[in-house]
Symmetry: C2
Subunit: 336 residues, 2 copies
Amino acid sequence: MTIYDISKMAGVSIATVSRVLNGNTNVTPKTKKKVLDIIEQSGYTPNAFARGLGLNSMNTIGILCADSSDLYLAKAIYHIERNLRAGGYNSILCCTGYDLENKKNSLNLIISQKVDSVIMVGSSFIESQDADNQYIRDAASQVPIMLLNADFDCPNVYCTLCDDFKAMQEVTLNLIDSGIQDILYLYNSKSYSGMKKLTGCQSAFLMRDLPLDKKYQQLFSGSRDDIDGVCRFLNQLREKGLSFHAVICAEDMLAIAAVKYARMNRLEIPSDLSVIGYNNSLLTICSEPELTSVDNRLESLCQQLVKTLIDTLGGNEMPQKTIFSGELVKRGTTAF
Amino acid sequence: MTIYDISKMAGVSIATVSRVLNGNTNVTPKTKKKVLDIIEQSGYTPNAFARGLGLNSMNTIGILCADSSDLYLAKAIYHIERNLRAGGYNSILCCTGYDLENKKNSLNLIISQKVDSVIMVGSSFIESQDADNQYIRDAASQVPIMLLNADFDCPNVYCTLCDDFKAMQEVTLNLIDSGIQDILYLYNSKSYSGMKKLTGCQSAFLMRDLPLDKKYQQLFSGSRDDIDGVCRFLNQLREKGLSFHAVICAEDMLAIAAVKYARMNRLEIPSDLSVIGYNNSLLTICSEPELTSVDNRLESLCQQLVKTLIDTLGGNEMPQKTIFSGELVKRGTTAF
DNA sequence: ATTGTAAATGTAAGGGCTTTCATAAAGCCG
DNA sequence: CGGCTTTATGAAAGCCCTTACATTTACAAT
């Protein structure tokens, strides 16, 4: 069943059928109805490939992410997909893993699929602002690139992110002002937002004229999901003589581990140890006591990102950077 | 840059270039090298749409799932995507939500995108074996349909699932044989696997000549992620006089709530209350004590599903049902 | 009725690939 | 070296749309 069959049945030319199909206005209501009726009856669906060839687009967006099984990224993908679909776009998904070479290959591969744009989900795609990241620049010369939770200055690259710096600064100030100064910052990735959070913490110390001590900034290099590993890591720090009464974690999962660590060491939360997570994920309420965490507005970010994308594809000039503010959600693992 | 440009540069016809591109053997090694070199130099990529039009396929598989942000489904999608890509296929994702009408529309929509097959992830797509599920039959007449964690008899529908019945039977037998008989089965979905798990529990009671009591089979109809809601639900049951010393949950998240319920009521786990989850997700180790759960072999399921799919598309006759056995993973919330 | 203008419709040329079929080259044998 | 089969290559016909452009129709103004 092709457009020719429809045109014959309706007694019109294929051009007219095509116009009806594409919502072109220059069609008599009568003709339009006739064609639509035939299409309805016959159950005809236009061939997406031919359409793609003609229009040079299949209204498809590539979604790149390191690991779509990650709780946070999965949520992001979910919201992005829903918003895209609501806007008439399909999503083709590609999980790259954390290896740079794979990321490059995946990006090229997905672009060769002729997507209209690529959304890169997660700050791990930008390890550093000044690194070359040439592969992203190359991609951006072909289609608009949307970054979620990362910042990168480049034409045709659009960033939608949460101000992690400010959020972490606020968190840290809250702790300091409640009388805690030996605060451990625990992170597990040198990604763009991982570093922003770190500098946010530091800035709070500077604001209060407190000294910075690198010992209180610890990178856990194993898998974040290895709770026992994180516990051991914290134990080792303590055994080395590091004393801390609060742990600020770059992710909720790390905070879950910190809570476990506290329980193993019979530390009362929050009196002996305050714990703060990040992302305000479902994990916050799985914990006992429930986790204080930072909500980084994932849903709004995704919504805005897709809006920017669709408007950009529509030919509108859009801002290249959109920044939301995070919100500190206070729960049982802190006393402030 | 088209295949014509390449053919000119290489001094061959476009047919030859096409043959090289598609791995056709009837090309002189010399010619092949020449063409490949030119392609390499010029950075040419074949136009995916034209390719799709010619081959009537873009090597793309549709992935349908109710909610890709669900921890379990997200993991499934992740593994499926990776296996598909390794096999040379792209994945287009579509989240349908739990509304039947949306599921139907999404399925049609994704098929109109000319995917080679559709993978329906999650047992929620099959509410009952004898329900019409006509929309799936219709789809299956167009492309092979793969079901993960669901069972449905229909030509061109392939099911890959875990034997939830047997796994739950084993779990229940373990509890019974360790001396616990007032066992609550808590589930939150009448999906295919939700019901299988239920009958698995029941069968264990029958095997031990114990009476079945419907009061001990409770459907929580709210969102599984509403931990407090689940806690309240359990409290209400207790207040109504239902006494139970074990809770078998259809999902880990429910079990997390059960643990919280125990803590609120100062019940010791596992001495006062045994708790068992399902899926063996990350949540099991977030819990304190860690959750006993059933591993339903998600990764193997996904791998097998994709293998079956690719072989089917390759023209091989494949079994329509592949069933794995779950594994009971004993942790701190049970004493057996 | 006549012309002019706008709206509706049709024709045909792509869009970039695959693939059939015809042809040319190559390899083989006696 | 002729005649055969096999292999490599090319020409051209699709695949099914969109759309620029040509043509026809409708309708208002004169």
